[in-house]
Symmetry: C2
Subunit: 341 residues, 2 copies
């Protein structure tokens, strides 16, 4: 077995009358190659016992061609979609990625960073854990390899970053709720020590002020934004002496928990309490009522993050930092649209 001569991309190309480049693209599911050609190439690859050997060229160059990606959790459409899009772009440029999840834990994140540095990845792309306030491990990455952040990143790290305008997102949400005659708007927030959640809180407060609405401290409740946090805090808001008539939740999973509690308490949504989430997780269009939310453009974030990384690899010494901030988009669904009902 070991001595058998292995077939190459050239062999497949010769059999099918294609160029080696077309064969390589077909094997990697490149969008420019037709479905029919892809099937023919893959069948030929199996028949000829082709085994990819992409690593050798990387090794010759003394690079690992590996990029480590750290995300808070895999079980989120937003993060898995960003990773999918990062991977598409990097694969086409000869990089492989390996993923780790921090589970929102600071200590686990440190371990993941150590692991990736030990493997000697060519760089790390990350979105920070909820728990992380000490940036020393991220400084350590910077001192050893390239670092690009997306979504959750701190400006003081001074690295390339891709995200959306969180401050503006809150304005879009509050403006819409005001247009639906809501004037007692509560905010189930993320933790203020994380920049994106701080920005959402700041935007929420400023937007209330813009509309001359009161901003009550006990209507801003910080949490981990898990399903159970949404449930607990919504119940707390219902039990309080002053009920809000709208709730803006900084994450969709927590918004789902809030919706469950509203329905269990026979509250009419959006008539009595309107609800808006954040991230456009696919389930928000499936619930009854469907949940209004903010589209963070995970596909764009993934693509632009990968491109920022490639740019950085080409010019590791470039002094200027790329900060790419995308426009958020409010998706209005049943949970906040009083007109449609």
């Amino acid at each position: 077995m070991e001595n058998k001569k292995k077939s190459t991309i050239k062999d497949i190309a010769a059999v099918l009358g294609l160029t080696p480049s077309a064969v390589s693209k077909a094997l990697n599911n490149h969008p420019r190659i037709s479905e029919k050609t892809k099937i023919a190439v893959k069948e030929a690859a199996i028949q000829l016992d082709y085994q990819p050997n992409y690593l050798s060229s990387a090794l010759r160059k003394g690079k690992s061609n590996l990029v480590g990606v750290i995300i808070p959790r895999v079980n989120s459409h937003f993060f898995s979609s960003v990773v999918e899009n990062i991977e598409k772009v990097l694969n086409l440029n000869g990089y492989n990625i390996i993923m780790t999840q921090s589970n929102e834990l600071y200590v686990k994140e440190c371990q993941e960073i150590d692991t990736l540095l030990k493997i000697q990845v060519d760089g790390i792309i990350a979105s920070m854990a909820n728990e992380t306030t000490n940036l020393e491990y991220y400084q350590k990455i910077k001192s050893k390899t390239e670092l690009v952040l997306f979504d959750r990143g701190e400006e003081e790290l001074n690295v390339d970053y891709v995200g959306i305008d969180d401050y503006k997102s809150s304005h879009l949400v509050v403006d819409h709720l005001v247009s639906q005659n809501c004037n007692r708007i509560a905010h189930i927030a993320g933790f203020k020590h994380i920049r994106i959640y701080k920005e959402r809180i700041r935007g929420y407060k400023d937007a209330l002020e813009k509309w001359n609405l009161e901003s009550k401290e006990n209507w801003i409740i910080e949490s981990n934004l898990r399903l159970e946090d949404g449930r607990r805090i919504m119940q707390q808001l219902l039990d309080s002496s002053e009920r809000p008539d709208a709730v803006y939740v900084a994450g969709d999973i927590a918004a789902l928990g809030a919706l469950q509690v509203l329905l269990e308490n026979n509250i009419k949504v959006p008539e009595e309490i309107a609800l808006i989430g954040f991230s456009d997780e696919p389930f928000t269009s499936l619930t009854q009522p469907s949940i209004s939310t903010v589209n963070q453009h995970s596909d764009q974030i993934g693509k632009l993050t990968a491109e920022a990384f490639l740019e950085r690899m080409k010019n590791p010494k470039k002094k200027t930092i790329n900060r790419i901030i995308l426009e958020p988009e409010l998706i209005i669904r049943q949970s906040s649209n009083r007109d449609l009902k």
Copy 2:
């Protein structure tokens, strides 16, 4: 910075009057430690500038203490939940995991395998890509390190495996549909070359035979089970001269696509056509009507897979292979329950 003496777990323990073992458990979110203690430990860790140093012990033993996990795609609740549970068990036993996704592509899977072998992981846990028919790369893993498979695994590889009884799942589905007076049952299937989908098809056929129902070849349609496959095939079934009165889909995402097409065509579900999916993805309980499905016990699969891996690491030369097959559970919801309506 580099010369500053780093605090250790012992320092945190001394400050808080805990044992080092309790501190270590708290830092890793062990379920036995109270939320209050965890918060205290994490705050102390940040104040004392504690940095975990788990790698050194692994390096002393000449092991990487890294396990590579290959899954078909991250964007699936089933796979991300299995990974989460694998990780919980392995982390508590001193292993870190890194993930890669094959995106259901054979060539990408080969690249991921090469990458993980190059990193010198202590072993690989995998679930195979839809495209994979050539097992040579999996043989290569076996020749170089430990391999444990879950869900999608081929028996001829002769390695430890954890999954559910796919054959029996189809019996549960068909038996229930027959109890709802369905007798023209179609099957939107996965590809027959993958053992789990072959078993679901075999179970479906045998169950039909058991009930003396006709099994038509054009009512078994193989596909990649993506959303668009479910949509396309459901439309095809509606357009055919003989409409089924029930459709059993081998994956939930494709079942969602099928449901969309049924509703767009104003077909009453389950009265005119009953629908059952597979995997208990969380969205199946949120759709209108909610989708009946088969629970694959992702948490149990993850836990048992990790335990099989640990067992294998302890006894790498053990000749007997562990094949753990869990009982499937049918979850009956609105899309197939004609009685409830």
